[in-house]
Symmetry: C2
Amino acid sequence: MAVHQDLRATNVDCADCPIRHRAVCARCETEELARLEQIKYYRSFQAGQPVVWSGDRMEYVASVVSGIATLTQTMEDGRRQMVGLLLPSDFVGRPGRDSVAYDVTAVTDLVMCCFRKKPFEELMLSTPHVGQRLLEMTLDELDAAREWMLLLGRKTAREKISSLIAIIARRDASLRQRKVSGRFVFDLPLTREEMADYLGLTLETVSRQITALKKDGLIELEGNRNVTIPDFDALLDQTGDDNDGGFLV
Amino acid sequence: MAVHQDLRATNVDCADCPIRHRAVCARCETEELARLEQIKYYRSFQAGQPVVWSGDRMEYVASVVSGIATLTQTMEDGRRQMVGLLLPSDFVGRPGRDSVAYDVTAVTDLVMCCFRKKPFEELMLSTPHVGQRLLEMTLDELDAAREWMLLLGRKTAREKISSLIAIIARRDASLRQRKVSGRFVFDLPLTREEMADYLGLTLETVSRQITALKKDGLIELEGNRNVTIPDFDALLDQTGDDNDGGFLV
DNA sequence: CGCAGAATTGATACATCTCAAGCTGGGTGG
DNA sequence: CCACCCAGCTTGAGATGTATCAATTCTGCG
């Protein structure tokens, strides 16, 4: 149970919280916030550390404050599929169920704002805004999961990689409050293997396709992680998506 | 916009509704039910008819009362991926958003219990039980979508078909309030092509794998639709899943 | 009975996987 | 301070599962 390394982290005042406006608490009024503040505690994980294993009891639910975590499913013979990427403000855990259905792993150093499950559930019953916001967030995640099903089931390797790079670029831009237009530079948070697990490919195929995109001038690489997109629209053309449709992930 | 054929259907009293205990209204108390009853209306679609197209405005949300519908996404060049299968008691539509992100199509004759969006949203704000139940259902759907991502990304064609047949068998059993054990007989609601769209395969591959399962004695066919599973556990062994784990779809 | 849509079957092509070497860059210990 | 080491990545050659294209053959329905 819980092989995680948890470092103490000091609580931040909700009013100063960087994810205040997007997380599960976004709609809360001051008194609801005060109640949440009472039951919250922070928890940190180092890059690479597991947060919970599939099947474990998880006695809390949480919001990602900073860092990135992944949700993965693993088959008996070791085949792995990533089924979600958790960014700041995303929510982990499921009120009304004790155990978790997938492995949760910290990809970068990670800080989470945790609520013990019992008090959180009581709060959900007695005040409306947390549940409403959680429903909204869950519906968004469901849309994202379904968009991902199209990618996994029907896209080619090149389309998959292009889509992933485009999505990471957009998320990065939104975290930095910028727009992805013209030339855009950012860091990949994932290794080739993690990308492969996300895309339903092997790491070799990921590597080859990245090389191909580089040769075609659609991306530029500085080291393994730092990516420059010289022309975002040109990259979008490679994703197979309806242009400018969709992906709000 | 809305090329659907809608036949009038007479409303059933909520108290006698076959999906009363599983649908979005499952938790409602009598007065809440009365309010829902006021704003509900039934709508029927013939097998094969579209319910809504991706991008259309959808001015209502609805529960499937009887029949089966599919959610599919389509790429510009025609590649299609099914992203959901709607069975009786499943919910369609998204409070808080006007347009739909995927095509919804009636696979069999279909009856839906519809609520105009505006009144439904107001009801969700003023009474807690609808929103709570909807959150629970959405979380279940998210789990199912993620399970499906593993299938699409990592399973072989044979594992995919076996998984699909096992899931349909289980759902069929649960609708008929029976258990899937020993010898089990049921009808496939989907054509080979629809199965292919669900599984991220071509219809030829689906056909070949079904033939292979038949040759191996894992299933028996009577015509194209009627399936007998002589030994359910033997079929489960072919799915690649942790035995008796998971799938509550 | 006959026909059209659905399904099967076959031959071949090709995208991706698999297995196997190397490469590269950043960190560590001698 | 350099040599080594190792994880992460790239590249290559060959195997393989699934797609594609093309006939047939079923099956259920009018």
